[in-house]
């Protein structure tokens, strides 16, 4: 082996060992420099990185996997211009707007979710933020779904005012989803109709009002390694209960349709880095995993993931819940509800 390659290998082992001591022995978070160093390890070290992430997940969160079903209760016609989204009304050829689903459709989707063994059901709306009628409909639906299915109910309805956040919390919403998607410094290249700061503010409100915060990321939009490390720091600051990790599945008609999905090895590297940056978080497999990871999907479960969205997504399809449930059984990972580790 060439001396410089040996040097790289021993440096990699040193970095991984230092991260292990920090996260498992000292139980402290990694900083941006430590994360950047791990992010730049050669591809040959990705298996060691994922093995460490799996050990950290088990040490901080245990073996349980949380399963969730999601439903787009109001699809398309969104006034915002998130460049990855097929539900924006700002681009040509995106999805036609459909009205709020009726209660029977929502309940039937919640029952389907419960039958998969899931503990969480999230209603998602393609809106900037809820108007009074929408908010009231959501508040009316939450106790009905809970009583019918026993599921925890989550909501994703965009930017909230303090009063709206409080009413959702009082109405029994268990977890509220609002994604940062990407780093503050990259966000203006992806969205121009609202700011990263507006998103951040809603995330803070959600926590202040007593709901669990679910705040996700979307990788593969053209962001750099530095942007991803920046986002990890911002998520560490925000300290959400859950981080759903999405991979861009380029949508026809959107400005990001020209991008290619991340490669599976890169996706695994970043799953591991999310776990190493956020050791106690519920790290959920979300949209795009099928097209990004293909045959590597089980490997994500041993690289730091401890939750998944089962079945279909909002407007695209997922693999069969039976396949995911079999994967969890084969991995001997029990299914159950999780809550963030403090």
């Amino acid at each position: 082996m060439a001396p410089d390659a040996a040097g790289t290998a021993s440096e990699a082992r040193r970095l991984l060992r230092a991260a292990e001591v920090a996260l498992i022995d000292e139980r402290r978070l990694l900083d941006a420099d430590e994360l950047r160093a791990l992010a730049t390890l050669d591809d040959e070290h990705v298996p060691a990185l994922t093995a460490l992430a799996h050990a950290v997940r088990l040490a901080w969160c245990g073996p349980t996997v949380e399963v969730e079903g999601i439903l787009s209760v109001k699809t398309g016609g969104c006034p915002e211009d998130c460049h990855f989204c097929s539900q924006s009304a700002q681009f040509s050829e995106t999805l036609p707007a459909t009205p709020f689903l009726d209660i029977d459709e929502v309940l039937s989707a919640a029952r389907e979710t419960a039958r998969t063994g899931a503990s969480e059901f999230c209603m998602v709306l393609a809106i900037r933020g809820p108007d009074e009628r929408t908010l009231q409909r959501l508040i009316d639906l939450v106790p009905v779904i809970e009583a019918e299915t026993g599921l925890n109910v989550a909501v994703s309805a965009g930017i909230l005012s303090e009063d709206q956040a409080r009413r959702l919390a009082d109405g029994g919403v268990h977890r509220y989803n609002h994604n940062l998607e990407t780093a503050r410094s990259f966000f203006p290249q992806i969205v121009t109709t609202h700011t990263w700061e507006e998103r951040y503010e809603t995330c803070l409100l959600v926590r202040r009002c007593g709901m669990e915060l679910c705040c996700g990321a979307l990788l593969g939009m053209g962001e750099t390694l530095e942007h991803r490390v920046e986002l990890l720091g911002q998520l560490q600051e925000l300290d959400p209960t859950e981080v759903p990790l999405n991979f861009l599945n380029p949508r026809p008609g959107t400005p990001l349709q020209i991008r290619r999905p991340l490669g599976p090895l890169e996706a695994l590297r970043w799953i591991a880095l999310f776990r190493l940056a956020l050791p106690g978080v519920i790290l959920r497999y979300a949209g795009g995993r099928e097209v990004t990871l293909r045959d590597f999907q089980a490997m994500g479960m041993t690289a730091g993931i401890n939750a998944l969205i089962v079945g279909n997504y909002l407007t695209t399809l997922g693999r069969s819940p039976d396949e995911d449930l079999r994967m969890l059984e084969d991995l001997q990972m029990p299914i159950g509800a999780l809550t963030g580790v403090i």
Partner: protein, 70 residues
């Protein structure tokens, strides 16, 4: 004519779209019009307002056979 409209791009007799099992159809195969699609956790339905047809699947993956009703 006699051809079918592409379920993905809506063009007549399209031979360029590759069917992904992870996409619900977007266009009606009979008339090419945009469908109103509802995706739920374990299936999907697509309605064409012009043809008054409903297609769908009770399986998440789009490779499952389509059922069709009026």
């Amino acid at each position: 004519m006699g051809g079918a409209f592409c379920r993905w791009c809506g063009a007549l007799d399209c031979d360029r779209c590759r069917q992904s099992p992870y996409e619900a159809p977007r266009h009606c195969q009979r008339c090419g019009r945009l469908l109103r699609v509802t995706v739920h956790p374990t299936g999907w339905e697509a309605r064409c307002r012009r043809c008054r047809t409903v297609t769908g699947s009770a399986e998440p993956s789009g490779t499952a056979p389509l059922s069709e009703g009026g």
